[in-house]
């Protein structure tokens, strides 16, 4: 910058840090001082450049919403490609499974039983209001709104977002939210999260993860989703068997 003092002045103006008088003085000087005009023009052009960064942010965000996709296969992995294709075809038939388990069952089992006046861990009513709104949106099938609600550190919010992500077909995002609960062992929501994690991984075609998570769940005799997990395991195995024939 040719004149650093102009930079500070312009930024203070842009950030609203000037008093009324200073602001009026600045605007008057901007009309009469060519050096300040030049510096201000440079500032405006810098702002235009931030569009490039905005583009990056948007692209990154879109990528984060995408399911993990199968990359281009090496020719030698042609057999694996065919296998994957057949598996996906089989899994498409399972789409009803996760829908059946994810929306109805979890909603009725966990959400309708959650008292709506629960105060969050820090006692903030603000977080409580956010959660309430999320629940309303979820019940009204406004899954996009649920996913776009500001992040609050509450396992119920994570569960709602995980289910909303499943409804959006974004299993990877669902599994991520579920994992926030599992990794922090936020009881009593861990079991529901474990099931959502499995559904998310199944939906995002990460069958190895899904199968490992099912195995782990099935080791817990009292797990409330044991029955569903067994059914899903059977369906997944049956798909594999069909493919292996």
């Amino acid at each position: 910058m040719k004149n650093p003092s102009y930079t500070d002045k312009i930024l203070a103006y842009q950030e609203g840090k000037l008093s009324q008088k200073e602001k009026a003085d600045f605007e008057a000087e901007l009309l009469s001082n060519p050096q300040l005009q030049e510096a201000y023009q440079n500032f405006q052009q810098s702002l235009e450049l931030t569009e490039v960064f905005a583009f990056d942010h948007l692209k990154q965000k879109l990528k984060s919403w995408e399911e993990p996709r199968v990359k281009r296969m090496h020719p030698l992995k042609l057999a694996a490609l065919a296998a994957t294709f057949l598996l996906i075809l089989g899994l498409a038939g399972l789409s009803g499974i996760w829908q059946r388990f994810s929306s109805g069952k979890l909603a009725s089992r966990y959400y309708t039983e959650i008292p709506v006046n629960i105060v969050s861990r820090n006692g903030s009513t603000d977080a409580n209001a956010v959660l309430l709104q999320m629940e309303k949106d979820f019940q009204a099938d406004k899954f996009g709104e649920v996913l776009e609600t500001q992040e609050i550190e509450d396992p119920r919010a994570y569960l709602l977002k995980a289910q909303a992500a499943l409804q959006f077909g974004n299993g990877a995002e669902a599994a991520n939210y579920a994992n926030l609960i599992i990794s922090r062992q936020l009881n009593p929501y861990v079991e529901a999260a474990e099931w959502l994690f499995i559904l998310g991984k199944t939906q995002s075609r990460e069958t190895d993860f899904a199968k490992a998570a099912i195995d782990s769940l099935l080791q817990k005799e009292e797990h409330p989703f044991r029955e569903e997990a067994m059914q899903l395991q059977e369906d997944l195995n049956s798909t594999w068997r069909k493919f292996a024939r």
Partner: protein, 194 residues
């Protein structure tokens, strides 16, 4: 499955920026049914599934930026405008391909719906060119300024990028803008592309 938005609502949400804009973007990305439409067009014009997915994402980014910076004038509906962006991005990307003429012919034979293509292409080229130069700005600054320019609140930026407080983000944004002003002043040739 989810509420549907009119063009007017989507434009308002995109202009207000931040989380509202993200909601509109998510809606467009998942529910407008236009992904299939653009995919079908690109596949007919010689593109692969991967090409189509990439063009779809870029088109959403340009749609949002064009609405925010006032380049979208509402002369057509959003779907038509979006398709025009996608088609032009694909044509631009195919230029270097040896099959470009064939692609162009197939496109012309099918339809010639293009809205201000020069503008869209020029912007894409500018962004690509500036992108290399602006690597100098540093990753942290790119992220902070990118979100700030999209009207995310300091709180939202702090949450997403892992800063401890809003004050830290505010200070970072100040430093980054200052750095960017210095870079633009030192490299006046950048301004020609703007």
């Amino acid at each position: 499955m989810t509420s549907s938005y009119s063009d007017i609502e989507l434009i308002r949400m995109i202009r207000s920026g931040g989380k509202q804009m993200e909601l509109a973007m998510r809606y467009w990305n998942s529910h407008s049914g236009i992904r299939e439409k653009l995919d079908s067009w690109i596949r007919k014009a010689g593109g692969t599934k991967a090409d189509s997915a990439d063009i779809f994402q870029d088109s959403i980014c340009y749609l949002i930026l064009n609405i925010r910076n006032g380049k979208f004038e509402g002369a057509s509906n959003l779907q038509t405008y979006f398709m025009a962006i996608g088609k032009n991005l694909w044509l631009q990307q195919s230029r270097r391909s040896q099959h470009y003429q064939r692609i162009l012919n197939s496109v012309q034979a099918e339809e010639a719906t293009v809205i201000n293509p020069e503008h869209i292409l020029m912007r894409a080229e500018q962004i690509n060119r500036l992108d290399q130069l602006l690597q100098l700005t540093g990753d942290a600054c790119r992220k902070v300024l990118g979100m700030w320019s999209l009207n995310f609140s300091m709180r939202e930026i702090a949450r997403e990028l892992g800063y401890k407080t809003e004050a830290v983000v505010r200070k970072k944004k100040h430093q980054c803008l200052k750095q960017l002003m210095k870079l633009t002043a030192q490299n006046p040739e950048w301004k020609k592309g703007l």
